[in-house]
């Protein structure tokens, strides 16, 4: 594979990760509502947890890029993000039930539930950005431009993921079906990156 194909591949992956992040966040409101309501503090909990996760993910992703950079490692981030979304599908109800019994304050209940369910997968998705940047940067002169395009595609992915979920996905399918597709997409993206690892120089 031609080395110039690396850039579009990284941008496309960052787009996918940004998109899936917001699919998960928008569905988060649906998932918590039966236990903690649909109040403004439930959305406050969800948004705060995703922001916290992204900030931790940026830190971790940056660290991880110091220990060698490859499409294999990049792909593993996607596989991890997909795998960490599985408990949301499988265990959301028992987790929320346990938290509901633990506290009768729906503010802290929703915060604990959002932490338990959404923190880990969104930390992984936060790692994608700095790691992408490490894959993209060839020189000091072009680093700003690369970062600009990267933030553009990943944030555009988030905007479209938000709209697609709230306008269309929830009217078409069940929450867990949408999550299942999102997990499959992250997994497929991860496997593609790993498959291309040997064929694409990243040094």
């Amino acid at each position: 594979m031609h080395p110039h194909a690396l850039q579009p591949l990284v941008f496309a992956s960052a787009f996918v990760s940004g998109f899936v992040l917001m699919v998960l966040e928008m569905l988060g409101g649906r998932i918590l509502a039966p236990w903690f309501g649909a109040d403004v503090y439930v959305w406050g909990s969800i948004i705060a947890v995703f922001m916290l996760a992204l900030s931790l993910g940026y830190l971790l992703g940056g660290r991880w890029s110091l220990q060698g950079v490859s499409l294999l490692r990049f792909g593993l981030i996607f596989l991890a993000a997909g795998a960490l979304m599985l408990p949301v599908v499988a265990f959301a109800v028992p987790v929320m039930e346990a938290i509901f019994d633990l506290t009768d304050d729906p503010r802290y209940g929703s915060l604990m539930a959002a932490l338990a369910l959404f923190l880990a997968p969104s930390v992984a998705m936060g790692m994608v950005s700095p790691y992408s940047l490490r894959l993209l940067i060839r020189s000091r002169e072009t680093s700003g431009a690369s970062a600009g395009v990267l933030y553009f595609v990943s944030t555009m992915g988030s905007a479209l993921g938000t709209l697609a979920t709230s306008f269309y996905f929830v009217a078409l399918a069940e929450v867990n079906q949408i999550l299942g597709v999102a997990i499959a997409v992250m997994g497929a993206n991860g496997l593609l990156l790993i498959a291309l690892h040997r064929r694409m120089p990243t040094g």
Partner: protein, 298 residues
């Protein structure tokens, strides 16, 4: 110089027309409050005091109204239709009302059944405040208000062993539906909150394809569902875990007409509203996993 004068004139004109626009949109305004959830307007005109929830530039539907000269009369069809629950369940000791509005329903029930304990769950403290200040809603040891999301309250209350004889669901307005209060799982929780022989009555949507989805969702949660269909398109569903019957018109009129007359309720007309199911039974049931109720009204 001319430009400055023209600008002044324009500014004055703009301010004046803006002020006028504000006045024109809300004649008879008594109270206006922007709560966390909605804009609440209380108006009084032509002897009718109303609470409405406003979405900007959209014609607002009245949530709750009463005639100042005849405050006990239940102005809306559906509020009268909800009183039909008493014909089925004449002596409920514990009543839960989800969605307070102006509080006319809990007040009427309290007058009719002074011994019953009536708990209203209303998410918006500003609505509770307006109901007390402008709609004669009064709390006492038999009339209680819980300011909380109804689903969270009900789930907790059931775990603490509370049960009700009568649960009235009236939490929706035409502008926005709390979607987690219109799913099979929620209705199953409501069913679980009923005492043996308990009854649920719900003011539901009669227009849009949501009609079919909401109807089959009630059927999915409750083995026994009956419908009252008002002439003006309002609809009330009665639902229960145990079989129930509506009394005959003669029987109900003899027992209830005199007591319900001050509220404007015609018992025979109410019972004549019974209608067989007319919804599409193949419509998809709404669940916690699939609940696009607001999108279904497009």
């Amino acid at each position: 110089m001319n430009t400055v004068r023209a600008l002044w004139a324009f500014a004055l004109l703009a301010t004046a027309s803006y002020a006028q626009a504000l006045n024109v949109t809300t004649p008879g305004l008594l109270h206006e409050e922007r709560s966390l959830y909605r804009n609440i307007l209380v108006t009084e005109r032509d002897g009718m005091r109303c609470m409405r929830f406003v979405v900007h530039d959209k014609p607002a539907h009245d949530q709750s109204c009463f005639a100042v000269a005849d405050p006990r009369r239940l102005v809306f069809d559906y509020t009268q239709m909800l009183m039909a629950t008493l014909l089925v369940k004449p002596e409920p000791a514990e009543i839960l009302v989800v969605g307070l509005g102006g509080g006319s329903l809990p007040m009427a029930m309290h007058e009719l059944l002074p011994k019953a304990r009536i708990t209203s769950a209303e998410i918006d403290p500003a609505v509770v405040k307006a109901a007390k200040r402008f709609f004669n809603y009064r709390e006492n040891d038999r009339v209680l208000t819980i300011t909380q999301d109804a689903r969270v309250y009900l789930k907790r209350a059931v775990r603490e062993g509370r049960r009700w004889d009568l649960i009235i669901l009236d939490a929706f307005n035409s502008d926005y539906i709390p979607e987690h209060l219109m799913t099979r799982e929620f209705l199953e929780e409501v069913k679980g909150a009923l005492k043996p022989g308990g009854l649920v009555a719900a003011n539901t949507f009669s227009a849009s394809r949501l009609y079919h989805h909401e109807s089959v969702t009630y059927e999915a949660a409750f083995p026994h569902v009956r419908m009252l269909l008002g002439q003006r398109g309002n609809r009330v569903l009665l639902a229960a875990a145990d079989p129930f019957t509506l009394p005959t018109a003669d029987e109900a009129a003899a027992r209830w007409q005199a007591r319900l007359a001050p509220y404007g309720v015609n018992v025979r007309a109410l019972l004549a509203m019974q209608s067989p199911p007319n919804w599409d039974r193949k419509a998809r049931v709404l669940t916690d996993q699939f609940s696009p109720a607001n999108l279904m009204r497009r």
